[in-house]
């Protein structure tokens, strides 16, 4: 129901200053599905996400939202369709959960309309979906990491956008909270048909929770498609530079990458041993 909004990049290059990080990229993000962008550190995956969210202006090419350049559209209009949870947002001291989540309504508000019934309902819905109801009067800076991440997701949900972008939403969380966050995103996608695009570090979690994978290396896309198709020994080798075996995840049946020991280092150790 919610998401027939299309996001894509057309020959996009992105960078900081004169250093290009993402080079001439072309891809689309399937509406209504979960897409994970994976790759080694510095491959440009977060940069790509920043470009999608309009935080970076492409040095060439265009980011297209519903067929039009995202930079040619009004900020608030874009913010009604595209939400972003960046890495390390700031928690103002003493701000309560409910106040924080309410701020996600910014693009829908105006000088006269600052707390409409729709605003209130969206905030309630976001608190309910993320199970942060009970925390509503607590100051955000007093919450644990896992609770805090759910609150941030609630803020982006209150924004009520058909497309959600998340930059490494599981970093700094323990495994239980990682699964909780990813499970929540899956739920949102399935129940509300929201398009979810996230940058993930963990390849196996990406394969388990996403419908579509984009594997990047040195600012370019190595492979894109469903995990079953693109998660191969060769792609893993190319993207992460490691040798691995791909097996079926014993729980979900999705592909799972089991790295082999680093043979190069082993060789070096072997030679050193012989020299001694």
């Amino acid at each position: 129901m919610m998401s027939e909004h299309a996001l894509g990049v057309d020959h996009v290059s992105l960078g900081y200053g004169r250093v290009p990080v993402v080079k001439d990229l072309q891809t689309t993000f399937p509406p209504g599905l979960i897409t994970s962008i994976v790759g080694a550190n510095g491959c440009g995956k977060s940069t790509l996400l920043r470009g999608l969210a309009r935080l970076l202006t492409p040095t060439s090419g265009t980011v297209l939202l519903d067929g039009k350049s995202i930079h040619a559209q009004r900020s608030k209009e874009v913010a009604k369709r595209l939400g972003l949870l960046p890495q390390g947002p700031t928690v103002p001291e003493g701000l309560t959960v409910e106040e924080l989540v309410s701020r996600g309504r910014y693009p829908h508000q105006s000088f006269r309309r600052q707390w409409s019934i729709t605003d209130e309902q969206a905030v309630e819905e976001a608190l309910r979906l993320t199970r942060t109801h009970d925390l509503r009067d607590r100051p955000v800076d007093e919450l644990s990491g896992g609770q805090r991440q759910r609150v941030w997701i609630a803020l982006v949900l209150a924004q009520d956008t058909p497309i959600l972008l998340l930059d490494e939403p599981t970093t700094f969380l323990d495994i239980a909270h990682q699964l909780e966050v990813l499970g929540l995103l899956r739920e949102l996608n399935e129940q509300q048909n929201r398009t979810v695009i996230l940058v993930l570090h963990d390849l196996n979690q990406a394969a388990r929770y996403s419908h579509h994978l984009i594997a990047m290396r040195e600012g370019q896309i190595v492979a894109a498609g469903p995990p079953q198709e693109i998660m191969t020994v060769d792609v893993v080798q190319e993207v992460f530079g490691i040798q691995s075996v791909i097996i079926a995840d014993p729980v979900t049946g999705t592909p799972m990458c089991v790295p082999k020991p680093n043979t190069e280092n082993k060789l070096v150790t072997e030679i050193r041993k012989q020299q001694v």
Binding site: S75, A79, L84, E93, L95, E99, P107, R113, W115, D119
Partner: protein, 349 residues
């Protein structure tokens, strides 16, 4: 516990969420300020009963009352309230924009810019009446330097602050130089210069009050109307931009307006310390909100604080009178230390 009330009107469409605590606190602070205005106008080395005070204010009291109340005390009292409010609002904006609870408008160089010109003018013996004009020009010049050096395609608050700090040091040295190389004639005026540098309301005149009131009346609505965007920007530049806040425009507008407020305040009273820094803190505590909703309360607190400090400055060491700036330092510095010790001031956290 925070109670919030939703206010909604269907036609024309209007809706707000109001924290009852914020509103209550604001009303109490305003009431306290009003009482303080009346009391500090009536009482002093020559005390006037309250009914005669009111008559004098309205202009039909006895001549001596009218002279003391209308020409002498009332402008000074009002100036305290206006300047305190202006500094508090300016400080609140700087603390919000920099996400640093220790920030104050001084960091952008306006205070020192005003000081160097004012000190020069005092030492040259220029008339008191033109001091505010010179000080304001100095403040604007400093702001212009910061703007030229600091404003790039992406406006980084961090860079702006660093440039402000550098400029402050440089101008501070210039002030010291002016004082150090003062000749025999100028030396006799050093006292005045030093008094100006501490901040004082003793030279208040009605026209100055008018300038302060006019500035505040114009800039307060302009700043508060950016409140929702400022609140959103508190969440970080990335999230702010993703939510559709026009970050660069907002930062440029609000920094300029807040700096202008501080510049006018410094021009009419000299650099009164700590009010801009302390008042937003107290208001956030009282209202229990981290957002812009605490700013009207901060203005009330700033006005009340400066009023009380000024009264104390006149009465504590009677018959000798202190510049109010000494009192705000004596009150404000321990508060800063207290915040630091309690670890309340997590820088940018």
């Amino acid at each position: 516990m925070m109670r919030r009330v939703s206010v909604r009107v269907a036609r024309p469409e209007f809706s707000r969420q109001i924290s009852t605590r914020s509103v209550t606190v604001l009303l109490v602070v305003l009431a306290a300020t009003t009482v303080a205005i009346i009391l500090t106008t009536a009482y002093g080395d020559y005390s006037v009963p309250l009914n005669r005070t009111v008559e004098a204010i309205l202009g039909n009291g006895d001549p001596i009352d009218t002279l003391v109340i209308r020409d002498h005390r009332l402008p000074r009292v009002l100036m305290c309230v206006l300047v305190g409010a202006a500094l508090a609002l300016s400080g609140g904006v700087f603390q919000t924009l920099t996400r640093n609870p220790l920030a104050a408008p001084d960091i952008i160089g306006v205070t020192q810019g005003a000081a160097v010109v004012a000190v020069w003018m005092i030492l040259r013996g220029l008339p008191e009446a033109v001091l505010p004009v010179g000080a304001f020009a100095g403040a604007m010049a400093a702001l212009a330097v910061v703007a030229v050096l600091g404003v790039r395609r992406d406006l980084s608050m961090y860079r702006l602050i660093l440039i402000g700090i550098g400029l402050n040091t440089l101008i501070g040295a210039a002030v010291t130089y002016l004082i150090a190389r003062a000749n025999a004639v100028e030396r006799e005026r050093l006292n005045l210069a030093e008094q100006w540098l501490v901040g004082s309301t003793s030279a208040t005149t009605w026209p100055k009050v008018g300038i302060a009131a006019g500035t505040l009346a114009l800039l307060t609505p302009a700043i508060l109307s950016c409140g929702r965007s400022l609140n959103t920007l508190q969440l970080g530049d990335d999230l702010g931009a993703a939510l559709g806040v026009p970050i660069r425009r907002l930062q440029l507008t609000t920094v300029s307006l807040a700096a202008l407020l501080a510049a006018v305040a410094v021009s009419v009273t000299g650099p009164i310390g700590f009010v801009a820094f302390v008042s937003p803190h107290i208001a956030r505590r009282l209202t229990g909100t981290a957002g812009v909703a605490s700013m009207p309360t901060a203005m009330g607190v700033g006005g009340l604080l400066l009023l009380i400090a000024d009264y104390a400055a006149q009465r504590v060491l009677e018959p000798s009178q202190l510049p109010v700036g000494y009192v705000t330092i004596v009150l404000g510095a321990p508060y800063l230390l207290y915040l630091l010790v309690r670890g309340e001031s997590r820088m940018g956290a």
